[in-house]
């Protein structure tokens, strides 16, 4: 005869197993996803260098990715939440970043005469936007608004995998798919028709470290850069996480031992019913 507790355990296990199998079947086995055209092709899982629980960003890749952003993406996409100072110690040295910032003119002021003036950029300045406002951005892009890229990796289903797939996923529209004038076919984009044209081509830029600038290399680097831009705390977070897990694991083990010690007398007692 099984005790109620072991029966419970079995039922709980069976229930969880059924639920997990059902959900697993739906997402991983069942090939029919009704909304594939609507929600976009599911991006494959790429082996990002920062993917594992103990892995950090590939900072050389962030540096190359910044170059791709600066030379390609920044023509249309802003990066409002990243200041020059954020790059220091991440992808560039302080002197390098100061020099890059100084190349950009920022409007400051007012000065003592009440006039606004132009000055070279400082570390505390934010990345210059390509357009002064949303209207200007739409006017230059046939009505479409290129999104700000600061949070793009966190703001899309699939994150870095999705971004890489979009950048490398451009192709001829298959027979039967009508693409409106000014839109481009990309199966990973929800709906399949994206306003952004393919931006990366082999040899488009020349990396300062000599890495061959293939389409996939540039896509990988800029995605790593944008993953960093979305989660600049990433490396520190995982490092702190490992410490937290180690400390709390020890405390957990210790508390289990303490609990068992406290309960030992209660668990090993014998209750005797003496008749009379």
């Amino acid at each position: 005869m099984t005790s109620p507790n072991s029966y419970n355990t079995k039922v709980v296990l069976a229930t969880s197993l059924a639920a997990v199998t059902g959900i697993g079947f739906y997402f991983f086995v069942n090939p029919i996803h009704a909304n594939e055209a609507e929600e976009g092709l599911h991006p494959p899982a790429y082996p990002w260098s920062h993917k594992g629980p103990f892995s950090t960003f590939d900072h050389a890749s962030i540096r190359r990715g910044y170059q791709v952003y600066r030379e390609v993406c920044s023509a249309c996409h802003s990066l409002d939440r990243i200041a020059w100072r954020n790059l220091v110690g991440v992808s560039h040295t302080a002197d390098e970043v100061k020099a890059m910032a100084e190349e950009v003119e920022y409007t400051d002021g007012p000065n003592d005469e009440g006039e606004n003036f132009q000055r070279p950029g400082k570390l505390s300045d934010y990345m210059p936007p390509p357009y002064p406002n949303e209207e200007a951005a739409r006017a230059s892009n046939a009505g479409a608004l290129p999104p700000d890229l600061s949070l793009i990796v966190k703001a899309r289903h699939g994150g870095a995998d999705y971004l890489f797939s979009i950048l490398t996923g451009y192709m001829e529209a298959p027979a039967g798919v009508e693409i409106r004038e000014g839109l481009y076919y990309n199966p990973y984009f929800p709906g399949g028709a994206i306003s952004m044209a393919r931006a990366l081509f082999d040899g488009l830029i020349e990396y300062e470290d000599g890495t061959p600038a293939t389409t996939s290399q540039m896509a990988k680097d800029v995605t790593t850069f944008l993953a960093w831009a979305a989660e600049p705390e990433h490396d520190e977070r995982k490092k702190m996480g490992v410490k937290a897990i180690i400390v709390i694991s020890i405390l957990t083990a210790l508390s289990v031992w303490l609990k068992r010690a406290r309960f030992a007398s209660l668990k090993s007692r014998k209750i005797v019913y003496v008749f009379n």
């Binding site: 109620p4 507790n5 029966y7 039922v11 229930t15 059924a18 639920a19 059902g22 959900i23 009704a34 909304n35 609507e38 929600e39 629980p53 939440r81 954020n86 999104p147 600061s150 949070l151 966190k154 703001a155 899309r156 289903h157 994150g159 929800p190 979305a230 600049p232 705390e233 977070r237 995982k238 702190m240 996480g241 490992v242 937290a244 897990i245 709390i248 694991s249 405390l251 957990t252 508390s255 289990v256 303490l258 609990k259 406290r262 309960f263 209660l266 209750i271």
Partner: protein, 392 residues
């Protein structure tokens, strides 16, 4: 020790936390009470800290949250903790309620304890909803719009009520400010309700897996359950750390990292995972008003459990049919969670309707009926024997 029993305040601490007599046989599932307490404390500490940096304005809210994430020292840790503990808060409250349903903790003499608990759950749902609006991402804005709009289904005064809640003609600055104010206030209301919950608990003490009186065999809370609760805390912090440090956004929705835009509706508007079952019940009914009534009713119906349970036995440990049905209810609840995350299209609509029907049938039909059946079978089995203990 003398001071502990003489000092007017310490004597309370002693009777609630140290000498409080607890059944000797309560299992780890009884840990969720103290775990929920730890969640509330964590949420208040992280929440008050976040409030020091947050700006409740539709133009600045999103930026101020990103400022917390990027520029405030360890701000990302505080915010990820606040967002993820919210999920665990609900996970624990579901397990806590599930325990009460399984072991019959809602039954006399603990009906007051149960009723206060249901009120706590209701306030938790409202607090979580208000809090989700504050970062003012896309899902914040559209979630707030959808949920507040539900009240417009109330005949005659619905539209006026919704505009009163908005403080305008749409979710705007006035709405965000009052949601912030209420999100700050309600946790302290919760704290007060928790104290009431503890006072009500103290009257009869904890239920136990057997569902029978434990008066004969009790142990002091300290050192037994203080140390058992400690195990729960550390296991919780361990799992929480995995989420906060390694999977901080897994339980959230990516759309909430897009700043709120009233001109653009997201492809799908879904609440956080812990509110999905109620969202599924809402959408199962084609009529908006009836849907809202069903959604609110699905929580309020918990109040009726002490009245609906006809069984003479408290714990499901001795109720084979009820036990089976209880696990059916659990599976049904999980399916409703999944349905809530899907687009309202076939076959999800039909599944959602079937599951919503089962949800309400559980309370209104199965709980009273199974109790009667089990009572009758027990009477038949002991008929004429000396053991027939339930003769009246």
């Amino acid at each position: 020790m003398k001071l502990l029993k003489a000092h007017p305040l310490l004597v309370l601490a002693n009777s609630y936390l140290i000498d409080s007599p607890a059944p000797s046989n309560i299992t780890y599932i009884w840990n969720f009470g103290s775990l929920l307490g730890s969640c509330l404390v964590l949420q208040i500490i992280t929440g008050v800290t976040l409030a020091m940096h947050y700006l409740p304005s539709i133009d600045a809210a999103f930026c101020s949250v990103e400022h917390i994430m990027r520029d405030v020292n360890n701000g990302w840790l505080i915010r990820y903790l606040h967002a993820n503990v919210a999920s665990f808060f609900f996970l624990f409250v579901y397990l806590h309620i599930g325990k009460a349903l399984y072991y019959g903790s809602f039954r006399a003499p603990r009906t007051l304890l149960w009723s206060i608990g249901v009120v706590i759950f209701l306030v938790m749902v409202i607090t979580a909803f208000l809090g989700y609006v504050l970062p003012f991402g896309q899902m914040s804005l559209w979630g707030a719009t959808v949920i507040t709009n539900l009240l417009s289904a109330i005949p005659w005064l619905g539209t006026d009520l919704v505009e009163f809640i908005w403080g305008g003609y749409s979710v705007g600055n006035a709405t965000l400010n009052r949601f912030y104010s209420l999100h700050f206030l309600l946790p302290f209301v919760l704290l007060m309700l928790v104290i009431m919950h503890l006072i009500a608990l103290h009257q009869n003490g904890s239920n136990n897996p057997m569902g029978i009186s434990s008066s004969l065999d009790r142990v002091p809370l300290h050192p037994y359950y203080t140390f058992k609760d400690l195990v729960g805390f550390f296991v919780f912090f361990l799992v929480l750390s995995i989420f906060v440090f390694f999977l901080p956004n897994t339980l959230g929705h990516p759309d909430n990292y897009i700043p709120a835009n009233p001109m653009q509706t997201p492809a799908s508007i879904v609440p956080e995972w812990y509110l999905l079952p109620y969202y599924a019940i809402l959408r199962a009914i084609p009529s908006k008003l009836l849907g809202v009534i069903a959604m609110i009713g699905s929580i309020l119906i918990l109040f009726t459990m002490p009245l609906l349970d006809t069984s003479r036995v408290r714990s499901c440990a001795f109720r084979p049919f009820m036990r089976l049905l209880f696990w059916g209810f659990v599976v049904n609840f999980l399916i409703l969670t999944w349905i809530g995350s899907q687009h309202p299209e076939p076959p999800f609509i039909t599944i959602g309707q079937a599951c919503s029907t089962f949800y309400f049938s559980y309370f209104l039909l199965f709980v009273p009926l199974i109790g009667l059946i089990e009572n009758t079978l027990s009477d038949l089995a002991t008929l004429g024997s000396d053991h027939s203990s339930y003769k009246t």
